[in-house]
Point group: C2
């Protein structure tokens, strides 16, 4: 059993955010002790993990709640849950591509500045002139 503080550390999510997610119904059935303090089980960490995963890909909290609720309903919702996960995976792959592209720009800019510094050159007060093609 873990306190909210331990979960926060373990999962790298702030206590505030965990409470916010809990209040939003994203962690069903987390037990409390005699002093009303949340006790996260290993099982509950599973919820935290999937919520964190969906959030990190940009799924809004309402849709996450929907997924959680589908889970609670049971087997009949497996096809819909499957669909959600598939769509989320595709979204994640797209984000990966986008991130790669942005990384290329950062790589380029980094070497551009490096060059500038090494050769003690000016960029003519025009920081965008290191970008060859205009559109992303």
């Amino acid at each position: 059993m873990y306190t909210i503080k331990e979960v926060a550390k373990l999962m790298d999510v702030s206590e505030h955010t965990l409470r916010f997610w809990a209040k939003s119904g994203l962690f069903p059935g987390v037990k409390r002790d005699a002093n009303n303090i949340r006790q996260f089980s290993e099982h509950d960490l599973g919820w935290v993990k999937i919520v964190k995963c969906l959030r990190s890909v940009g799924t809004d909290n309402k849709s996450i709640k929907r997924y959680i609720d589908l889970c609670l309903i049971g087997d009949s919702t497996i096809p819909e849950r499957f669909g959600i996960i598939k769509a989320t995976r595709i979204k994640a792959l797209q984000q990966m591509e986008e991130l790669k592209k942005q990384l290329e720009l950062l790589d380029y800019k980094e070497s551009y500045y490096e060059e500038l510094i090494k050769n003690n050159k000016s960029d003519k007060y025009n920081p965008a002139n290191d970008i060859k093609e205009a559109v992303s």
Copy 2:
């Protein structure tokens, strides 16, 4: 020259967001025509591109403004700009790693559901039991 609508389409950023960024001072020196309508040049698209890049990695608008302002000051700020880009690049790499990890979970979940459906099995109303290791 491009209207804001064209830029929105070209760069895949909403007009609203472009106006918001413009108002925040993230696009210095965008010209207007006789009717006060913004005319983005190729050069201006460079600003949009770098702002979009920094935003996509989670840089807050205040820090982006700082970067833009440094650019406008000129050569004396090249070392600081270099530092910002380097730090941003590292942040992007970390995000890449994080995304990969989340993608693994999604991959696992997808095949889990697939299996479930193929074999007409139950997940015992416990959607978190497809997660082997508890912590992320």
